[in-house]
């Protein structure tokens, strides 16, 4: 990584110096530059399939792309930056802890758990954590102050060359900045004893990327032990030196949150628990992050370089108990997970316009994680009674891609491939004999073609996404009953490969647009590291077939409405069983009214019944949230309503065995457990701009 940073720091200023000193362009170059300027203007004119942005560029004309502006985010009901991701069509997020813990993601028939199949980047910096103790690809956005999110780009499927690890179902890029300039101080109070204060200093006249922001939050939460406390600080500036634009950023966060556990429906039916109870009591977690980043863009004529580098420290401590006393009737099944990691990386993407028709797309990225983690069994009082695992590991991963974008009249195509590799050295500190190391690599070809008429766009895309194995999967487990470890105790760690196909049609009118996308994903074999057993489970192949439709309209300049629906049939190939948890039907509706001084937004989501493992079914739900704001002079008053209809809904549902009532007969049979959704609640806010 150090060498890449060094190269970046040397080459970019040198390139600027050459650019500033260069002679006037030749007639041929002038034609090319004219074309480049036209293409950029076209891209910025509002086309959704080619969006130029320093952190979320979309070169590939695939169908499942959505770009959301900061104003649209502001008019979306939200409590935190996590909630912005609900604008990704077909993405369902579930919180089985409380605010501050990473969400569980479901997208395109994948149960991406805490991020294993959805790549999330902020300003180009990967947020998914390699080998987090709580789950591979753990993506925690709790450090982001929502007012600093400048835009969101979601790309479903692995069709773009720049999508790296974890983009098996798709990827989401957030860009930091604020269009609202000046100094703003705000305070929000909510019906769950929620108090949030924030301050943003975004100097007028400076680029929208430049700001300093901080917020603090206390929320008792709904039900029992679902509270959260949080403090974040973020800063970013923009420095311009000729053609080079640099964006140094910093973020720091501390969060404390409850881990109430999930409740068996049978325990609610027997009145042993109330729906809003916290079976696990006051267990909880703490999350900390320090992150420094440097983004850079450089353009000269036919060349454009987008780069970023980052260095961060990460801490996660979790005490949780989801099964009560099922395994141990004396101490309980509580478990403590501790994760510490230092992560650094760099990324350079270079686009070179070769001719009127051809642009080369290439780049490389490296990531280094040095992590320490352990897992202990804890009693109901939090005392450690057994050390389960203690691991230190270093993972070094690299990806590089090369391809071309071709334009010819109404046709636009990209094609290329990327190579991703990871080297792991994992030490088991409880038993050095189990330490292990290894290297894995995968090649991912990707291609997309689009035909763009005046109103109609047709596209087809194919690509491969990759999910890396966890570092701990490289440690070795002892064999049982003298059998081969790979026969009885899990398989070798390997990259999980998802091959995807997508085709779409989009009709864009002046006031109304609509689109339909069909997609399919196949996984031959899936390597899943079960961190509870410490084994790599090699699952059978699976396939996902689905379709998405959307309609959006802007009948009048101050009103925008949108609706979308995603239908997916996700199944394992051998058994034909559905992929547990993955929604079959997810629909959402949004309406935004922006007629200052009044503005408002409503967002609703219908989640169809979901298949759970072993044939159980999760309930469907319909939930609406709303936001309204009134702005007068420097003041803005806002009111947000959670769960407008007061629906009793389950945010998460799971099917496994638990035992909380020790007086009840012992049973290992799985039961449906729920994580209750947020009830009706209101939040009022006021902010003033200086």
């Amino acid at each position: 990584m150090r060498s890449h940073l060094f190269v970046l720091s040397i080459t970019l200023p040198c390139a600027i110096a050459r650019a500033d000193d260069e002679a006037p362009p030749s007639p041929d170059d002038a034609e090319l530059l004219q074309y480049v300027a036209e293409a950029e203007a076209e891209a910025q004119a509002g086309e959704t399939i080619v969006v130029e942005d320093s952190a979320g560029p979309v070169d590939t004309p695939s169908s499942g792309v959505r770009v959301v502006s900061q104003r649209a985010l502001e008019l979306t009901p939200h409590r935190n930056a996590d909630d912005y991701l609900r604008l990704v069509p077909g993405l369902y997020m579930s919180q089985h802890g409380s605010e501050g813990k990473g969400q569980q993601f479901f997208l395109r028939g994948f149960d991406a758990v805490h991020g294993s199949d959805v790549s999330i980047r902020v300003n180009g910096i990967p947020i998914n954590e390699m080998s987090n103790v709580h789950g591979q690809g753990y993506a925690d956005l709790g450090f982001i102050i929502p007012e600093t999110v400048h835009g969101l780009t979601s790309r479903k499927g692995p069709f773009d060359l720049e999508q790296g690890w974890f983009a098996t179902a798709g990827s989401i890029d957030l860009v930091l900045g604020t269009a609202s300039r000046g100094r703003r101080v705000g305070y929000e109070v909510g019906s769950t004893n929620r108090h949030r204060a924030y301050v943003i200093d975004a100097p007028a006249g400076r680029p929208e990327a430049e700001f300093v922001a901080a917020d603090v939050l206390h929320d008792t939460g709904y039900g029992k032990f679902r509270g959260t406390e949080h403090a974040s600080v973020m800063a970013q500036t923009e420095l311009t030196a000729g053609r080079l634009v640099l964006r140094p950023m910093f973020a720091g966060n501390w969060t404390k949150f409850g881990e109430p556990g999930v409740i068996a429906l049978a325990d609610i039916a027997s009145s042993y628990f109330d729906r809003m109870d916290a079976p696990a009591g006051d267990l909880g977690g703490r999350s900390q992050r320090l992150l420094g980043g440097l983004g850079a863009t450089w353009k000269r004529g036919a060349d454009e370089v987008v780069a970023s580098a980052h260095l961060g420290w990460r801490g996660l401590d979790l005490d949780e108990n989801f099964t009560g006393y099922l395994e141990n009737t004396q101490y309980g099944d509580g478990r403590r997970q501790v994760h510490r990691a230092i992560t650094g990386g760099a990324r350079v993407a270079w686009r070179h316009t070769l001719s009127r028709h051809v642009r080369l797309l290439t780049g490389t990225e490296v990531l280094r994680d040095q992590l320490e983690q352990y897992e202990d069994r804890i009693s109901t009082r939090g005392a450690v009674w057994r050390n389960e695992r203690s691991t230190s590991a270093a993972t070094t991963s690299a990806g590089t891609w090369a391809g071309a974008q071709v334009r010819d009249g109404r046709w636009l195509a990209t094609a290329g491939a990327r190579v991703d590799a990871m080297m792991v050295d994992a030490a088991d500190r409880l038993d050095a004999m189990r330490s292990g190391a290894g290297t894995v690599a995968a090649v991912s070809p990707r291609a997309a073609v689009a035909w763009r008429g005046e109103h109609l766009t047709l596209s087809v895309a194919a690509g491969r996404g990759v999910r890396p194995p966890e570092a701990r999967a490289f440690t070795q487990r002892p064999s049982r009953e003298n059998m081969m470890a790979t026969t009885y105790d899990g398989g070798d760690p390997e990259i999980t490969v998802a091959n995807a196909l997508e085709t779409g049609a989009e009709l864009r009118g002046e006031r109304i647009s609509a689109g339909v996308t069909g997609f399919a994903t196949w996984i031959d074999r899936e390597a899943v590291f079960d961190h509870l057993s410490g084994l790599t489970a090699l699952l059978d192949g699976s396939r996902r077939y689905g379709a998405e439709v959307f309609v959006e309209a802007k009948p009048v300049p101050w009103l925008a409405v949108r609706g979308d629906a995603t239908l997916v049939d996700a199944r394992f190939v051998v058994t034909d069983n559905p992929v547990p948890g993955a929604p079959r039907i997810l629909a959402s509706a949004e309406a935004r009214l922006d007629a200052r001084p009044w503005s408002a937004g409503v967002a609703g989501r219908f989640l169809g019944p979901r298949p759970l493992i072993h044939g159980a079914t999760a309930a469907s739900s319909t939930v609406f949230d709303a936001i309204g704001a009134y702005t007068r002079g420097r003041w803005m008053l806002s009111l947000q309503v959670d769960n407008l209809l007061g629906t009793d809904w389950n945010e998460g549902e799971y099917h496994f065995a638990s035992r909380w009532d020790l007086s009840a007969p012992e049973s290992s049979l799985p039961r449906v457990h729920i994580s209750p959704g947020r009830p009706f609640g209101v939040r009022a806010g006021a902010s003033v701009q200086f």
């Binding site: 478990r335 759970l612 994580s675």
Partner: protein
């Protein structure tokens, strides 16, 4: 789509959570006579009665791991959103004395199984006690296994009596059980003890030269805890190779 009707149904109303469908089936031990086992040292072990003190009988499905991906994840506590392998979806909780003597045995109880494609069974092995309804002088009390029968070699037959103990938390994991359980299933699940491993052909009685062992006053070969031979037999008899579940 597999369930096209779900779409309009789901859009017009909300549905509640549903637990997995289950069926209750009787569980017992096999009435079949115990076949003689031929050991590697030329003995024939003919068991007339086998009793084992067990607890927590479980029935498992393989989940989504088949063929070369058949890496079972056992003994895991599940957690929302994480792979919950070792998929126990059927059970007969409680403590039991399993007995095989060539005759039909009383029903152990009704096992509850979630409908599915079953692949295995587990049970814990424990020390028997008076709680099991055994007479105070029953030799199984305080032990896990009691095996009786005869041992024959070179036309000489001697009575055989073995009492075996196990370490705490010993379980048989993965006894073979192939059955597709549906809501309409009515079969009886019969636990089997195999004196000879039906797959590998070896026996738990291998490696012991029985006629060199001291005999009791009535001439029986007795295996008791503390003897090296006890540990040899115990090591093999507590593996899943020796057990299975058949349907009656």
């Amino acid at each position: 789509m597999r369930y096209p009707l779900l779409v309009p149904l789901a859009l017009v109303g909300c549905s509640g959570s549903e637990e997995a469908a289950t069926v209750d089936l009787p569980v017992t031990t096999s009435p079949a006579a115990l076949a003689p086992a031929a050991t590697d040292l030329g003995y024939q072990v003919s068991l007339t009665r086998v009793r084992i003190a067990v607890a927590k009988i479980e029935f498992t499905i393989e989940g989504e791991m088949h063929g070369d991906a058949a890496a079972r994840v056992v003994g895991t506590a599940p957690h929302p959103g994480h792979s919950a392998g070792g998929e126990v979806t059927g059970e007969l909780p409680g403590e039991f004395i399993l007995e095989w003597n060539g005759r039909a045995q009383p029903q152990l109880g009704l096992g509850r199984l979630i409908v599915g494609d079953y692949q295995g069974a587990n049970f814990a092995i424990r020390a028997a006690s008076a709680r099991d309804g055994l007479a105070a002088n029953d030799p199984l009390v305080g032990h896990a296994f009691h095996l009786t029968g005869t041992i024959t070699k070179d036309a000489t037959t001697r009575p055989f009596d073995a009492l075996l103990d196990v370490e705490p938390d010993t379980s048989v994991i993965g006894a073979v059980f192939h059955d597709v359980i549906t809501e309409a299933s009515t079969e009886t699940l019969a636990l089997e003890f195999y004196p000879t491993d039906p797959v590998e052909g070896d026996t738990p009685f291998d490696g012991v030269d029985y006629f060199t062992l001291p005999t009791t006053a009535d001439g029986a070969i007795a295996i008791r805890p503390g003897q090296p031979e006890h540990n040899i037999i115990r090591r093999a008899i507590q593996t899943h190779d020796q057990y299975g579940v058949q349907t009656l």
